[in-house]
Symmetry: C2
Subunit: 147 residues, 2 copies
């Protein structure tokens, strides 16, 4: 049985290829905003809660400072965020949205119809897919931690 497992039979490849398809779909929507897809995810996290530490942002996004620091510096360079040392604890760095970064939220909400059209209109199906993936991720995280 394992001996006949093709690429398409693998769940891992379904996730891999769906991920890249998502990024390709978002690119033309995000390009006019001047942000990449990972940067858009950072913005989503900051629109939800501003002024977080890099560590907290990383916990939400499942990313470490080796990825986030250069990414946030690029966002700072184009004026989307400000990085300030935390006066309460000089080890940590706080990330704040600039006015430009805040303003992008409205523009991003304008993408919704395009995203909805691309993803499909079956909200039930999409929400269920999302929840199944979150459960799988949580399970994998748990196993990887212990293993």
């Amino acid at each position: 049985m394992d001996f006949k497992m093709s690429l398409d039979d693998h769940l891992c490849f379904a996730i891999y290829s769906a991920h890249h398809a998502i990024v390709r779909m978002y690119r033309p929507l995000l390009d006019p905003m001047g942000v990449t897809y990972p940067q858009y995810l950072v913005l989503l996290a900051l629109w939800e809660q501003d002024g977080r530490r890099v560590r907290e942002l990383g916990a939400d996004l499942f990313l470490d400072s080796n990825t986030l620091t250069p990414l946030l510096k690029r966002m700072q360079a184009v004026g989307l965020v400000a990085r300030r040392r935390n006066p309460e604890d000089e080890r940590s760095v706080l990330i704040f949205l600039t006015e430009k970064g805040k303003a992008l939220k409205a523009q991003a909400e304008g993408m919704s119809p395009c995203v909805a059209e691309a993803m499909g209109d079956d909200m039930q199906e999409l929400a269920e897919l999302r929840d199944r993936l979150h459960r799988l991720r949580a399970r994998l995280d748990g196993v990887t931690q212990k293993g």
Copy 2:
């Protein structure tokens, strides 16, 4: 409603984070084999059908030569594949598994129990998740093409 959409509410982020969790889960299994996760996907495609052109491999993996050429050269450098110009059409390059590349298949099949344990034992659920993702990817590819 859109104004309260958190990171976790987004299907795109569920896919993004599940993808990275999958890669993290596979890493300790693939490291001893000396291959990366994308290289493992290439091997899956080649174990299924050997001696393909770069273009065909790319069609299966949804990757272009700008990604595949350097990746295949790295696999050639460690002796997993051979790259030969196609005598029938000198524009194309054929990719062949070496004996070492073929031998890795048995070792990869040994990962199955670990993967199964990490992913969970509900094969029905996992197969359904896989099929839903393939349908989403197909839909996104269609929309992106036309758009």
